[in-house]
Symmetry: C3
Subunit: 349 residues, 3 copies
C-alpha cells in the first residue's frame, strides 16, 4: 500500500477524539503489533506493562492511553485506547466484499431465493426453500439447510452448517465449523435404552450476533432457541435446546449452557463456564471463567467458583482453603489442650 | 396440513394410555410449544411451574402430568408426560426418508458398496471399500473414509467425518461436524520432542447410538474404541483412544473421557464431566455436571465435585466451604481464649 | 500380508535394543492388541495389571517391560516398552503416501502454487495465492484460504479449515474439523452492544506440530498467534488470539487458553485445563487435568486445582475438605466446652 493510501495523524486524532503528541501531517499506512510495526505503521500499547517493548518498537506512531508517556514516536493519546484500536482497524481493514454471484461448483436448490448481491462460495450447498439476503457471504463448503433464512449482510465462514428451518438476522457472523440447529439432547428413559424425543423446534439468531468456530447451538424441542441481538459467542461454546440468551452478552470459549436456561441482557461469561439446566441468569451478571452455576444468579451480581457463589465469597474461600490442612491440625491441638484443662478443672472441682 | 391429517384426542388417549379430560372426537393437527401453539395444536406442560404460561396458551389441547388441573383446553393426563410428548412427536414428525440414490456431485469410489435404498448427498465423499447399508442417509459434504462400514438406517448429518476403517452399527445418528476415528493422543517423550505412537486401531459404534454435533471419538492405538448399544452422546464431547463405553449411557455436552477409560452400562453424566485416563465407572453410576473423576467410581453411586466424591459429601463440603473463612477466625479466637485459661490455670497450679 | 512381509524377532530385538526371550528367526507380520492378536502378530503389554489378559492372548510374540515374566510366547523385553511400541508401529504401518496430483473435483485457484508431489483431495478448496509444499496431503473437503502457506510433508485431514494468511511449517498434522485462523474474541463495550475489534493478525504453526480434531486456534488481533515446534495439541482445544505456545508442549483434550497467554517450552497440560488471559506458564511446568489457572505458574512446577495451586497443596486441601463438615461440628463443640470452663474459672476467680 502506497503512503497515499494512508491517513494523516491529525485526521486520525480528530476521528478518535485523541490528543496528538507529534506532527499532524505525518501519514501512517497500516496498523501493526509493537514487535513487527515499521516506520509507516501505527501501533498500539495497552498499558505501562508493555512500555519496554514499545520503546524498542520501530513503529511510526502510537495509540496509547492518556497518561502514558516516554514513547519514541508521535502518539495519539486516547481515553479508550482499545476502542481507538477498533476504530483504526475498521478504517485500515474495511473488510472484503466478495464478488456477488453463485460459484459454479455450488449446489443451490432451484427454489432457493438468493439475493443478486449475495455471494455463494465454491462447493457450498443451499437446500430447497432457503432465503439468502443482500450482501450475504455463504463461504465455500457451507451447508444451508432447507427453509433457512439468512438476513442481509451475514457472513458464513467455510464449513458452517445451518440445519433446516433456522433463522439468522442481519449482519450475523458465523465462524468455521459452527453448527446451528442440531438436535437438542432430549431422551426419555426406557427399558430398551434412552428413547429419543424428536427435536422439532428451531433456532433464531438475532441481528449482529457473532458465533465462534466449532460452537454448537441446538434447535428447540418445541418452539425456539434464541440468541439475542448483539450477543457475541466465542469458540467451542455449547448452547442447549430451548435456551434463551439475551442481548449484548459476551460468552467466552468452551462455555456450556444446558437446556432451557434463560440468560438476561448484557451478561458476561468467562471461558469454560457451565450452567445446569433451567438456570436463570439476571441482566448484567458476570460469571468468572470456570464458574459452574447450579442455581439462578441475580441481576448485576458477580459470581465465581464451583458451584457458583458470589465472587468475593469464592475468593475468600479460595484463600481460606490453603489454610485448611493446617486448620485441621490446630483444632486437634485445641482439643487436646482443652481436654487437659478440663481434666484439671475436674480434679479441682 | 389440513385437519384431516390430524389425530383425534380419543385415539391419542388410547395410544398414550392417558386419561382424556375433553371431547374424544376433537382433532389436533400439530404439536407446538405453549407460547406458539394455536387452536389446532397439541401442546405440552411439564409441571406446575409453567401453569401460568399454559393458561395463557391458545393451544387446542394439552399433554399434562396426572394431578395438574385448571388448563383452558382438553387435556391428556399422562403418568409419564415426557414419554407421551416423545410419542406424539414421533407420530406427527415421522422423519423424512431422503430419496434413494447418489447425488451426481458426490464422489463415491468405484469399489464402494452403496445399498440401492441409501441416499448419498451433494458433494459427499465415500472412499474405496466403504460399505453403506440400506436406507442410510449420508448427508451433503460428509466424508466416509476407506473401508468404513455404515449399518442400515444410519443418519450422517452434513460435515460428519468418519476416518478409514471405522464401523457404525444400525440406526446410528451422527450430527454435523462430529469426527469419528481421528488419531488418539499418544506420544512418547523424546529429546527431539514428543514422538508419535501411530494409532492403528479403529472405532466401533454399536446400534442405536446418537453422537452430537462437533463431538470427537478417537480411534484406538491398537484394538478398538467402543461406544455401546443405545448410548447417547451430546455435543462437543471428547472420547479418547481405547475407551470402552457401555450400553444405554447418557453423556451430556462437553464431557471428556481420557484414554483407556471403561464406562459401564446405564451410566449418566452431566455436562463438562472429565475423566482421567484408565478410570473405571461402574454400571448405573451418575456423575453430576462438572464432576472431575480421578479414581474409579463404583456401580450405582452418585458422584460430584472436583475431584469426584460421593454427591452427598460434595454437597456437605460445598455448604461447609461457605463457613470456612469464618471458621478460621473462630479457631483463632478459641486459641486465644484457651491460652488465657491455661495461663490462669498455670498461675493457680 | 504374507509372512515374507514380516520381521524376524531377532532383527526387531536389535532395532529396539531389546532382550529377546525366544527364537530369533521367528517372524511376526503385524501388531495387534492383546485381545485380538493372532499367532503371527506381535502384541504389547504395558505392565503387570494386564498380565492375565496377556496370558490369555493368542499373540505370537510380546513387547514387554523388563522384569515382566510368565508370558506364553517369545518376548522382547524393553526398557521403554511404549517407545518400542511406537517404533514397531511406524515399522509395520509406514503411512500411506497419497498419489500426487489435484483431484479433478477440487477447486484450486489459478494463482495458487501447488508442489507437483502434493496431493489435493476431492472437493477441497485452495484459494488464491496459497502455497502448498512437497508431499503435502490436502484431504477431501479441506479449505485452504488465500495466501496460506503449507510446508513440506503436512497432512490436513478432511474438513480442516485454514483461514487466509496463516502459515504452517513442515510435517504439521491437522485432524478433521480443526479450524486455524478464525477471528479472536475481541470486543469493546459500547452502548449499542459489544463493538468488534477486527482481527487482522495471523497464526504461525511451526514444524512437527500436531493439532487434534475440532480444535480451534484463533488469529491474532495484530501480530501472530504462535504454536511452537513439536508441540502436540489434542481434540477440542481452544487457543485464543495472540497466544504464544512454546516448543514440545503436550496439551490434552478440551483445554482452553485465553488470549495473550504465554506458554513456555516442554509444558504438559492434562485435559480440560483453563488459563485466564495474559497468564504465563514457565518452561517444563505441569498442569493436572482440570486445573484452572488465574496467575502465572513458575517454570518446572506442578500445579493443580481450581484455581491453580501447587499440586501437593491441592491434594492436601482435597483430603482436608472431606473432613470440613465434621470440623465445623468439632469447633462448635470446642466453643461450648471452652465456655463452660471459662464460666467455672470465672466463678472461681
Amino acid at each position: 500500500m502506497g503512503a497515499g493510501a494512508g491517513f494523516a495523524l491529525g485526521r486520525l486524532a480528530q476521528m478518535l477524539e485523541a490528543t496528538l503528541d507529534g506532527q499532524p501531517e505525518r501519514v501512517v499506512t497500516g496498523v501493526a503489533a509493537l514487535a513487527s510495526a515499521g516506520p509507516d505503521d501505527l501501533t498500539y500499547i495497552a498499558d505501562h506493562a508493555h512500555l519496554e517493548s514499545a520503546r524498542a518498537s520501530r513503529a511510526g506512531a502510537f495509540i496509547a492511553p492518556v497518561g502514558l508517556s516516554g514513547l519514541p514516536a508521535p502518539t495519539l493519546r486516547c481515553r479508550e485506547p482499545r476502542r481507538a484500536l477498533a476504530t483504526v482497524l475498521h478504517l485500515f481493514h474495511p473488510g472484503v466484499e466478495p464478488a456477488p454471484g453463485i460459484d459454479e461448483s455450488a449446489r443451490v436448490a432451484a427454489d432457493a431465493r438468493v439475493h443478486p448481491t449475495a455471494a455463494i462460495g465454491a462447493l457450498a450447498v443451499v437446500e430447497s426453500g432457503a432465503v439468502i439476503g443482500a450482501r450475504v457471504w455463504v463461504g465455500p463448503l457451507v451447508y444451508v439447510g432447507s427453509g433457512v433464512a439468512i438476513g442481509d449482510g451475514c457472513l458464513l465462514h467455510p464449513h458452517v452448517v445451518i440445519y433446516g428451518g433456522c433463522h439468522l438476522g442481519q449482519r450475523v457472523i458465523v465462524h468455521a465449523g459452527a453448527v446451528i440447529g442440531a438436535d437438542g439432547f432430549g431422551f426419555v428413559p426406557d427399558r430398551q435404552g434412552p428413547l429419543k424425543i424428536p427435536q422439532v423446534g428451531t433456532v433464531i439468531v438475532e441481528d449482529d450476533v457473532e458465533i465462534g468456530a466449532n460452537s454448537t447451538i441446538d434447535r428447540a424441542t418445541l418452539g425456539e432457541t434464541v440468541i439475542g441481538r448483539g450477543t457475541k459467542i466465542d469458540n467451542l461454546v455449547h448452547i442447549g435446546h430451548n435456551v434463551e440468551v439475551g442481548e449484548r452478552c459476551l460468552m467466552a470459549a468452551q462455555s456450556g449452557i444446558s437446556g432451557s436456561c434463560h440468560i438476561g441482557n448484557d451478561v458476561i461469561m468467562g471461558g469454560q463456564v457451565g450452567l445446569a439446566d433451567h438456570v436463570r441468569i439476571g441482566d448484567g451478571a458476570m460469571l468468572a471463567g470456570g464458574t459452574a452455576v447450579m442455581r439462578d444468579v441475580p441481576a448485576g451480581q458477580r459470581f465465581a467458583g464451583r458451584w457458583a457463589r458470589p465472587a468475593t465469597l469464592t475468593h475468600r474461600i479460595w484463600v481460606a482453603e490453603s489454610q485448611l490442612p493446617d486448620l485441621l491440625r490446630s483444632v486437634k491441638t485445641l482439643e487436646r489442650r482443652l481436654a487437659a484443662l478440663e481434666g484439671r478443672a475436674g480434679d479441682r472441682g
